[in-house]
Symmetry: C2
Subunit: 128 residues, 2 copies
Amino acid sequence: MLIAEVSDKFDLSQDTLRYYERIGLIPRVNRNKSGIRDYTEEDCRWVEFVKCMRGVGLPIEVLIEYVELFQQGDETLEVRKQLLVEQHKQLLSRMEEMKTVMERLQYKISAYEQTIGEKEKTLNRTSP
Amino acid sequence: MLIAEVSDKFDLSQDTLRYYERIGLIPRVNRNKSGIRDYTEEDCRWVEFVKCMRGVGLPIEVLIEYVELFQQGDETLEVRKQLLVEQHKQLLSRMEEMKTVMERLQYKISAYEQTIGEKEKTLNRTSP
DNA sequence: CTACTCCTTTGAGTTAACTCCAAGTCAAGC
DNA sequence: GCTTGACTTGGAGTTAACTCAAAGGAGTAG
């Protein structure tokens, strides 16, 4: 698969794809005889994985570390698992924070509705 | 309240507090006769509000707009409410995304546990 | 062969959100 | 009166995460 197709498929610019590879956010992609990137299925899965994880804010350094560990083989299974567990935990606590903020927003919204409702009542009383 | 206290209270650097004010993320804080910021209770509530909302990723521009609308008075009640409703919606969809990512992580973690478990069995079989 | 398009690399530029710095002011302590 | 320290301002510097640009190679169309 060429970079243009991967770019379309995952809605990431070619520059971003090259950048991700450069900094080790995905493993190095093979080139064909003329030096052009040829993404395998597995490369695509990495791209998709990274896009997904970045999308919810997992730090780049963590993902880079994950790729590095992955490339070191089976000895790092446990460490990789721990890394995922830690990120899962982080996501959970961020979600909890978001939940309380959403409740706060909802409270404020209700207060606005209340206020607006009262304004309208006043208006109806004063304008015949 | 002096900037140093506000800085401590909300764990934001003085630079950040000044920056927030400069870009309109909080309304302008009054200065005393010698030009030094003197935060009122309301200023503090703004700081806390902004810190909270930024913490879950509400965009700065949106918050700036909210402050502007607020300062325009009661005519903007409805618009402000809509703005909050929209942000509430955004948070909800981000939370849904995070939830599916967390499920995915959990799935991966289980797969790791499985694999590691099998490795150990093999080890136990081969080492007396 | 020439032109064109798509890719390559290296390195520089951009944007957001701070963060730091220099020069200056003011009030308090000695 | 001088020093100290916390503050002021405007503006420059930093970092992360892209994003763009310049220079060049490979393969295809005319």
